[in-house]
Amino acid sequence: MFLEIYRVHIFVMKFFKEFLFPPYEGKEVLRQCYQVGYRSLALISLTGFITGIVFAKQSRPSLAEFGATSWLPSLVGIALLRTLAPLLTGLISAGKVGSSIGAELGSMKVTEQIDAMEVSATNPYKFLVITRVLATTITIPILTFYTALVGLLGGFLNVTLAESTSFSAYLQTALDSITFLDITASTLKAIVFGFTIGMVGCYQGYNSSKGTEGVGKAANSAVVIGMFLIFIEEVIATQITFLFRT
């Protein structure tokens, strides 16, 4: 276990060491952004929209019990912007993107394509790992903003159907309890989640073995470990944000 931690440490430190120095694989980063970000947009948007509607719908009876349905936009806003949007995006991305990266790199590992790249004087870590980790680190915060927006729209749909509230009034109330600290914390969280998803996927794929079985295991581990780490990071981020808030 400690050996594994050491390997992870070396793998992560290598990213920071390699990331700063050329050659820069811009096209590959762009391609990965397309794969990770754009190709996940529909899934993330749909999930965020449904989450907004469901959250508003489920919260309404509890608030209605003490006549506080006017607080529903505020509740939806706080829940989405502080926690749900980054967490939801992170978890879905961990499932979709993390497994994809793990499987892709695992497959390349077991078919010795990575070794071939090393032989052909191409830095496989720079080309495969840094590009993917950068792509997830950039696109997951962007996806988080999309999720927050469509989630708020979903909440608005529920609110306006029940109370005919205007969008400006809804948005005003939804953002009323949100501070810049919340926005900053959510953005940083999303960046960390993105980095984690990319790094876990790449590590699992890059170090896979035992043939095709190893590929499946790498994809599976990328999802499970990625999600687990996202939850751990969420707890830590919440505690740190709470310290700043007080």
Partner: protein, 330 residues
Amino acid sequence: MAQASENKRAITVGVFLFIGLAIFLLGVFTLGSQKKAFVKSFSLNVVFNDIQGLKVGNNVWFSGVKIGTIKKIQFYGSSQVQVFLSIEEEAHRYIHKDSKAGISSDGLIGNKIVVIDGGSPKFPFVEDGDKLMVNTTLSTDDIMKTLQVNNKNLVDITSDFRILARNLVDGKGTAGALLADQRVADNFKQIVENLRNTTAAADKMANDLKVFTEKLNTEGGLADRILTDTVVFARLQNSVNELQKTAVSAATLTENLNKASAKLTQTDNAAGLLLNDQPTANQVKSIMKNLDSSSKKLDENLEALQHNFLLRGFFKKKAEQQEQLNNKQN
């Protein structure tokens, strides 16, 4: 072909990233405008004894409009709390120096807010760094304390009512007996019946009185003459005067009789002595006895005198005259 596809992908990613960042920036600017983060502001401060959980970032309201936020909170003096308010410049020309700031709540269970009241136009407008006076308001705790007292009173009242209701059900007390005792109920019914009869009688009496008063008011009647005829009235007045005199005489007579009767109870006069003194009564009895005895003896003596030869002729002559008088009458 591959180049075109790559370009398309690059544009797609660019648009995706651009829209994502635009959403982020839009959110930040919306939040900023809502929090008045990019608005020029000035600072005011208020010293409260109790800030009731007010936090940095809470809103400041003026006439129901959000004009700023709480910028800083720090202890002041021994136990007071100084709150610094960041007020947007636009509100400067509405807040006067005598304005007061109080702590309120955004709704019944909402966030704490600072509410500034207008102040008087006689005073100049506030300036950066001014200290506002405090407007003491009832906190939620105070309201809850009052409600608690009310609740306690309510419990006492309902408890008393419970006892009262139990007593009523058990038929205790006058009210309970009224409700539960059949005899009392019967009596009550009887009272009501009597009352009804009395009312009917009173009604009849009122009708009779009405008839009577109508008769009294009939022109030429006794009452009418008493009330309207001056001659009758003068006679009545005379009669009343005479009666008054008689009453005075009667009063005098009664007084004299009282005096006389009072004297009768005393022994310093003959009648009182006769009535009240036992020795005198005994003497009178003895005298009466002697008189009785004497009269009997005198009767015997007189009988003897009638048969005396000296007077026999006189009595004989008187008897003959009486006989003649009786014959004449017959």
